[in-house]
Amino acid sequence: MCNDGGHGMITLTINGKQHQVDAPDDTPLLWVLREWIGMTGTKFGCGVAQCGACSVHVDGEVQRSCQIHVGDVGSAKITTIEGLSPDGSHPVQRAWLEHDVPQCGYCQSGQIMAAAALLAQKPRPSDADIDEAMTNICRCGTYNRVRAAIHTAADLAGKV
């Protein structure tokens, strides 16, 4: 009955710390983070790569963790919303605070991770860059504030 592919202890590097998890290889990273490790900042929204609520960084690139099998992570470094900054001081987080971006907030972990990855790649993104990179769904409709906050975050990051 167990069609769980490979099995055994997997070592993951998350937010700079090593975690041992006993999960089948084909378990989505999203659920390993949430259930095996107990880090719930990364959210479940669809499970089919549509919404981006589950976005994390894998070696600095934004990826949808519901689509990553934990067995495929290997030695890649995972960063989640909990590890983006030690104290909420990442320029994206500061800009989000300044613009009071979140409404319900449920999509915002994913939005913030996507925005942080965009800024790491393009420190001064244009509106077109933002349109292309920010494909996460926000049901509350915070898009315009997300956009404004990304521009502010670019300013803040430029200042340090």
Partner: protein, 715 residues
């Protein structure tokens, strides 16, 4: 039917690592010491922290912050020291509901609480002043309060609220405290920052889906895919050996759940579980059949009356020209970002739940009923909602969690719906059609208007006792005599042929105003066109009896520069409405490519909610209403085949994204004297403003939503 497979008692904590958190989290971080309750709305601590009690629910709409502003202003509190905390439903119940109604819907969060929460703040302020006066042995009238400090004006003596709270709490609560006048407001009307943002930026905010408790198990559920179907049997043995699986359980007579150590294991096993359903004769229902059912209502002789003025038949007869058009909108899922979920524990005849709910009272009642226990034996932990939009007023998921927990006593069970369950077992926005008929005289004046609705009724589905002589008043939302903006039309008939189906329907951000406003505002545009008049001028002429509607319409037209030239290929559309106590209007600027790509360049949206608590949050709700309303306009449709919903996830139920989101300029024009809602009114004008602009651009009237079925898509 197998009730449960008794698996071994392997036990380990769902989490032993960073994410585990203990009971009793508060919003925000819990205060160590309890302060003094000065009246019922404010708890004041020695360090001057003011905790404002919140009975309604925060689902993103900003009500938590707005309510705190109302209390804090009347209290003359230092806003930087104000926090907010939910009232527990069972405590409200035990204390004879002193905190009032907990339901949060219909844009009522602020407007239906404003009087008593302001009075609560004012009462607390009077008590603090009285306490200071007694300490100083002076008259209360010689003392004043500001920024959480009471001052004795003659001597200049000062005492902080934190120093006075204990004494103040012992004083009687004044019954009729004096409220401030609007001119005296310091916090009300200010765009202060939300109180609930910081936690949402770091992953620290715990939603119901994030609850982790010692010994907790997780449940995945499958409900009868056919509406009205029943669970017949399932073969638990087939999944018993799968990783983590503990129980396979029937839930009510129409669902089956797998309980496992992890939700992912439960979901994986559920997908492998053989289940037999009884369609109970409902397996043939289709959207095509529903459309025929509704079409039959458009000309039916019998219909429930919404409102009537003058003589419709005479008005149509006298017309030089008659215009008729039929419009329609589909079923729509709410698709909150956080799927339905609830954690429940049944132990020693008591039930405890952790839930995101738009109605704490309803959650309490549902948990008691499902658990078979008294209201007093239920504890409800309310958490912020990952979206509500009307969906979380219903408590089906709460009930299920308790039914499962009752079969696994002693263990907390977290039930999470998959996105597919969430989308296919919603209480959908009801499907309706409207046949609009009007007469114009030779000068293009409207002599008569008939709006005939046909379609499903929310009230008939959810609370038939609220039908009035068989008529659903909600069906006419925005069109009652005291709401409708075109009362100058001399001969008017608005009626509804109720045509129900077995698809569950419910309140969906802005129903039924949002369907009705599409019908009315697009049809008024059609009439303007038939009369050869400018759409703005045509509306203005019809608003002689509706000055507040007119003022908002004019405000939006002015800000949008109505009538001024636009870049080549860009066209404007306009719409207005009144609902949930507020007047709204919008102008959309749109261009449409030859292939049908619709670019919405700019939205200007005006609102008159009477008084404004927080203009920043009003603007956020206006922006969000466009995202939600335009998602529905472009993409939104849930279709029925073989008795069940076809669309299951965001791939087939698309949502507007960043690249498609227009610029939105808010124009807030509070005229004072009343408190209107802001979460929902604007959604009603979003689609018709864009539809009327599409007509201006293309000459094409789209009358059946969504646009994706009519050859239009977002650029």
């Amino acid at each position: 039917m197998t009730a449960s497979i008794g698996l071994g008692r392997r036990f380990f904590l769902a989490s032993t690592a960073a994410g585990a958190f203990s009971l009793g989290w508060k919003i925000p971080a819990a205060q160590a010491a309890t302060g003094a309750e000065v009246g019922i709305w404010a708890e004041i601590h020695a360090d001057d922290t003011v905790i404002v009690r919140i009975a309604r629910s925060e689902m993103g709409q900003g009500t938590l912050t707005g309510l705190a502003q109302l209390v804090a202003d009347e209290l003359d509190a230092d806003w930087s020291k104000v926090r907010a905390e939910y009232v527990a439903p069972e405590v409200n119940n035990a204390r004879k509901r002193v905190w009032g109604d907990m339901s949060t819907g219909g844009s009522r969060g602020i407007r239906a609480s404003v009087d008593y929460v302001r009075a609560g703040g004012a009462a607390a302020r009077a008590m603090l002043i009285q306490a200071a006066a007694q300490k100083w042995n002076v008259a209360a009238a010689e003392c004043s309060a500001s920024d959480s400090v009471v001052t004795h004006s003659l001597s200049g003596r000062r005492l902080r609220y934190g120093e006075l709270a204990e004494a103040a709490a012992k004083l009687p609560v004044p019954e009729k405290p004096v409220l401030k006048t609007p001119a005296q407001w310091k916090i009300i009307g200010k765009g202060v920052k939300r109180l609930d943002t910081a936690e949402k930026l770091t992953g620290a905010q715990k939603y119901a889906i994030d609850v982790i408790l010692p010994g907790m198990l997780n449940a995945a559920i499958a409900q009868s895919p056919v509406f009205g179907g029943k669970l017949v049997s399932f073969d638990a043995a087939k999944v018993a050996g799968m990783p983590g699986v503990r129980h396979v359980l029937a839930v009510d007579d129409n669902a089956v759940a797998v309980v496992a150590d992890k939700w992912w294991q439960a979901k994986t096993a559920l997908e492998a579980l053989p289940v037999t359903w009884d369609e109970a004769g409902n397996g043939k229902l289709s959207s095509a059949e529903i459309a025929r059912h509704l079409a039959g209502g458009l000309d039916a002789a019998e219909a429930g009356l919404g409102q009537k003025q003058g003589d419709l038949a005479a008005g149509l007869k006298a017309a030089a020209k008659t215009v008729t058009a039929t419009y329609g909108t589909p079923f729509l899922a709410h698709a909150t970002m956080e799927p339905m979920n609830c954690t429940a524990q049944f132990a020693d005849g008591k039930v405890e739940i952790w839930v995101a709910s738009q109605n704490g009272d309803a959650s309490l009642a549902a948990a008691a009923e499902a658990g078979g226990v008294k209201l007093g034996d239920v504890k409800v932990n309310k958490l912020h909602l990952g979206g509500g939009f009307g969906r979380r007023g219903q408590q089906d998921y709460t009930r299920q969690a308790v039914l499962i927990a009752k079969q696994v006593p002693g263990r907390p069970i977290k039930l999470i719906w998959s996105r597919e369950e969430d989308m296919q077992h919603d209480f959908f926005r009801p499907i309706t059609q409207a046949k609009m008929t009007a007469g114009l005289d030779k000068d293009g004046n409207v002599t008569a208007l008939h709006a005939r609705l046909s379609g499903q009724s929310i009230v008939a589905y959810l609370s038939p006792s609220r039908l009035v002589n068989g008529v659903d008043p909600v069906a006419f939302q925005g069109w009652a005599a005291d709401e409708f903006g075109y009362m100058a039309i001399p001969n008017l008939l608005i009626d509804h042929a109720m045509r129900n189906t077995n698809v569950p329907v419910g309140f969906w951000r802005g129903v039924n105003a949002n369907q009705n406003t599409i019908y009315m505002e697009c049809f008024i545009d059609e009439l303007a066109h038939a009369a050869g008049r400018d759409p703005l001028a045509f509306r203005q002429a019809l608003m002689a009896k509706n000055p507040k509607h007119l003022a908002v319409l004019n405000a939006v037209a002015e800000k949008a520069g109505w009538g001024k030239p636009l870049p080549a290929g860009v066209f404007r559309g306009i719409a207005q409405n009144y609902a949930y106590g507020s007047y709204v209007a919008a102008v959309a600027e749109v261009s449409v490519s030859a292939k049908g790509a619709v670019q919405v360049h700019r939205i200007v949206a005006a609102t008159d909610p009477g008084y404004v608590v927080n203009p920043q949050q009003v603007a956020a709700q206006i922006e969000g209403s466009f995202a939600y309303g335009l998602s529905a306009l472009f993409y939104g449709e849930n279709t029925v085949e073989n008795g069940r919903m076809v669309e299951g996830n965001f791939d087939s139920y698309q949502i507007l994204r960043m690249a498609e989101m227009p610029k939105v300029e808010s124009v807030i024009v509070p005229s004072g004297g009343f408190w209107g809602g802001v979460g929902e009114p604007t959604i009603a004008v979003a689609p018709p403003a864009v539809l009327n602009a599409i007509f201006a651009a293309t000459g094409k009237r789209v009358r059946q939503m969504p646009l994706k079925n009519q050859g239009f898509f977002p650029a």
